[in-house]
Symmetry: C6
Subunit: 248 residues, 6 copies
């Protein structure tokens, strides 16, 4: 029957100060986490900083953008104080999702079938292995999910990718775009169930101001706080502050 | 006409202290209970502990995972104080849902028809009998339900499985994944109606913190409390505390 | 033109103390009433007690279960103080819905057409006549409605059954399963309109506790209270208590 | 161009005391009014009383039931103090909707097309003319609307029927069944727009009690109160009381 | 490139006292305005008064009814103090929408295609030109929109009609029927976007009474108040009163 | 690997005083921003002023209208104090969306396929290059999105257009029409995710008055305030005022 594995899971430091404390030392290494929230809540910024802090710790990071070209992305980044040209050159790779569709032989005009799911996972894993990437961000998986068309394939894609990345010890953030005005965790409702973790970014309206919030809803392999924190996007990176009690 | 059966139903101790009290002595043995809640509410933890406490009482437990590989699952478990390698070896079996699809001759690419429903029930019951399992957790049935496609087949699957397990005296928890932002008990709305019991896990936001809650909504064959409890996932297991009155 | 019938309708005592008072003496005999509510609100318990109290008054009762086998049902009943083996043997009949599908020649794999509606009504009426049943519970009609597929056929089924039962002086409770998180009376929205009465079971959260409630929303042929009552499921049967005013 | 018609429209007294005051003297004769509300709000009782009071004033009334047989309907009526056998015999006609479908040559198994709409209107008008009916109740039109399947045909049916009845000076109440838990006026959302008037029956929960309310939302050809009234169904008929201000 | 047109747009006085003030002098002449609200909020009354006040100022008005026959409409009008038979004879034309369908060669049984959109616009414009109408009311466009079936055609119809009417200096009110229980501006959500203005009629429940309200949500070519006003339908016409502050 | 681009992005001054402060100096040049809100919230006015202020700064602006003809648009503009005929003649171009459909060879009767997406982007970019436009407003993209029919094509259209405009240094506002009664950012829920920025216009009801609000929800490449501001549309242009704290 089953065997008991080592209890002390190795951690991947996000580098975002407060977040690592919330997670009692970082994301369990190899976990695939859904980074979810509506537009403007800071998903891309958190993802970028996760990659940059990895580079600072000597880990190669792969950032796959679905929407923006790599040029536009780096051009529109907040100019972080701690980001050096050398980091970008040596440790950070920006790629476009389309490159992976091509590598997987996926036709850009039609839906992705079960075979395509497997090829796409393989294409991503191959690139991760080739680059020896220890961190991966896909910003976002929502357009991929839309093309998978069935809940089954979405489950297969996320859990298959998650298994593949766990085997090569790569910790991943999958950005999920939630439409404004809803309180769901993901557009298809299944992405959250098959991920190892869910980090929820949100908005909090307070006296006319729209604050950003962060909450770790779920993280397999560690205990963690589930409290809601206020986050601030600054050139010194993402800053977390506890939500003042009784404030709402 | 009908005959009157013994009134004192035998109980299956969940081993979760507070929960057994709520149920006036545990789940009526042979019941199939829906364990339902949104992502991050502790469904997998409650399911695992149900299996582990069974092992501690000498009962074989079968844990069928739909999403994670058995390796990943055991790797990402909270390291319980009371879990010994011997328990895992002798009494706990982790299997993957895919194995049952294969045993039932179900094609992984298409929906499951009425014949498939019967084969799948049979495959699960056969494994339960072979392993002499007295406890079963399926984490989760949501992907199965999605592939059944009609409410009728979902009813047939759950009530058929429930009947089959009752005959071999196996007590089961069927995990159901509910999308965030809804207050339903199950994605298809019928799972709850055909189960013998419903244990609802939820979230309660209190001053910025996101607490986990547990509530026994329904349990056939016993009277029970229907109050909402706060639960805490610790390395000493799931802990229940009454929700302070007037707190909301 | 029309003729005036006797104003004093004969009553069928439910045997549930408070409920008969609410109804000013019981359900008008021959009425078909929808017994509706979400999972765990006590629909099956109220239905069983209606049958058992009938047996106690010497009336034969037929309980048609859609989900559970008769064995499982009697096995998981709350052990009522007033239920004797003799009652069960002489006056109570548990049957499975599937038997009626078979008698009506309805294929278990497809939807039920207009012809099937008529055959199913006939099969139920024939059994009621054969057993000389004065009380009928169908727990539940929701799976039947799902297979009828159109609102028209649901209307035809319920009003046809209702007419047929009225002719043989049989009083019926049709259990309707409503998904959690909604405040509807029936899944298809028409069941309530064609029934002679609607008894609504519900939940009321009060300081963390989940109480059960009962309310007679509609009852043709009698005036009645429409107030909401708290109900308690005990081994002495269903107990009703008025909802304390100002409590919500 | 257009000509100015007489300003003082003749009124049809409903006989329901408060309602005639609300309407400043009754429903403008020839108007077709939607009588709408969820199950149990008293639609049938108001409709019956409208017919009975007409009979009392010497006007023939036609009551078309869609669900119940005329026998069941008269059997389950509240025994009104003012209803005499002679009224029923001479002035009140209960018929079943099915008879009109037959007269119009409408197949009971399929949807009603544009031709069917015209035949059905004609069948109803012919019966109204034949019986010299001055009042008509159809309880309910919801099953008819379901079979019309398009908004266009629903519009055509209601406005066509309304025109036809206006020509023979017949005042009509069309009962519309709204599913519980919604605050709409009609299931298809167009019935209300093409009717000359809308009388809304509703529920008002007050300290655990479920009161019935009545509100005239719209009435062409007269000014009227739009306030909400509490109604009570008694053997002396429908009684209206103003909703106590500040009570909610 | 573009040229600057005269800033002082000519105004069309609605004749409704308060409304002209809200609009700083009336509707900019040639604008096509959506007059929207649920059933019973006074859309037809406002539309009629707009036409009648135009007649009083010597302008021909065309009122196209979709539901009622012209006879029924004039028969069920509130008897306005200021309406003279001469006005009706000389300056006001009531027509039925069906006449325009016929003129446009549109089959009454099927949906309206792009060609039909153009023919219908032409038919309306031709009649407006022929009658030299300076005011137009279509009560309502909702049944037209239903038959257009796509958002694209609804956009094309309203913006095409709006352009055509602007060219002949005709100011139009298009009545839009919104189902009760929603807070939308139009059933298809696009009518409001392509109109030059939106006047929203609504209900306001205050201590059991259902008041009517009016609000100018949008009006191209003028600044205007967007406050909510209480309206009263009287035989002296529509009266506006400011909503008492702090009243809600 | 990636290279670090210049941190100080050049800004495009909107000319709307408060808005440029909120954005810490204007919109990052080359960004494509969604300007979104329900009907009547001032989208067209903000878009026009953005173009006019550009003209005032010597930049050519292209305004593509989907609904109104250029004549109607200029005719119904608020007469701005700072708008001179020379600006309109030299620097501002009003065009109709239909012209671009024609240039792109898109059939006006059918949906737009992937090839059409590319042709439409090219047609817009070609015109922008030809006119040397530095500012673009499309009022609105909602009808385009409706004709794209799939989320995929909407993503491709907006991100493709955004990339093409960035290359020619053109800053764009894409107007998005949201139906009243919803709190979404865009009708299809994806427009917001692929845009570089989102400016949300809204309504705020305060004591019966309907105020307009503006909020920068997201803007790539700059930090910005996310507070909600009250806006006023005047002949001196759009004026912003902070929402008084505690006012709601």
């Amino acid at each position: 029957m089953a065997t008991l594995e080592a209890a002390n899971v190795e951690r991947c430091l996000t580098g975002i100060d407060g977040l690592d404390s919330i997670l009692n030392g970082g994301i369990p290494r190899g976990n695939t986490t859904l980074l979810t929230g509506t537009c403007g809540t800071g998903k891309t910024s958190v993802g970028l900083e996760f990659i940059i802090h990895g580079a600072d710790q000597g880990e190669v990071g792969l950032f796959i953008a679905a929407t923006e070209t790599p040029e536009k992305l780096t051009g529109s980044m907040i100019p972080y104080d701690f980001l050096t040209p050398k980091m970008l050159e040596d440790k950070i790779e920006f790629m476009h999702l389309e490159d992976f569709y091509k590598a997987a032989g996926i036709d850009l005009e039609s839906e992705i079938d079960s075979k395509g799911v497997k090829s796409l996972i393989k294409a991503i894993r191959d690139e991760v292995k080739k680059k020896k990437a220890k961190r991966l961000v896909i910003d976002s998986i929502t357009s991929i999910c839309a093309r998978l068309t069935t809940e089954d394939r979405i489950r297969d894609f996320i859990s298959g990718l998650s298994d593949a990345l766990a085997k090569v010890d790569c910790t991943a953030l999958l950005v999920s775009e939630v439409p404004a005005g809803s309180d769901i965790y993901s557009p298809y409702g299944v992405e959250e169930a098959v991920s190892d973790g869910v980090v929820l970014l949100g908005n909090l309206e307070r006296q006319g101001d729209l604050l950003r919030t962060l909450q770790v809803v779920k993280m397999r392999g560690t205990t963690h706080s589930r409290a809601k924190y206020i986050i601030d996007l600054t050139s010194a990176g993402v800053l977390l502050a506890p939500l003042l009690k009784g404030g709402e």
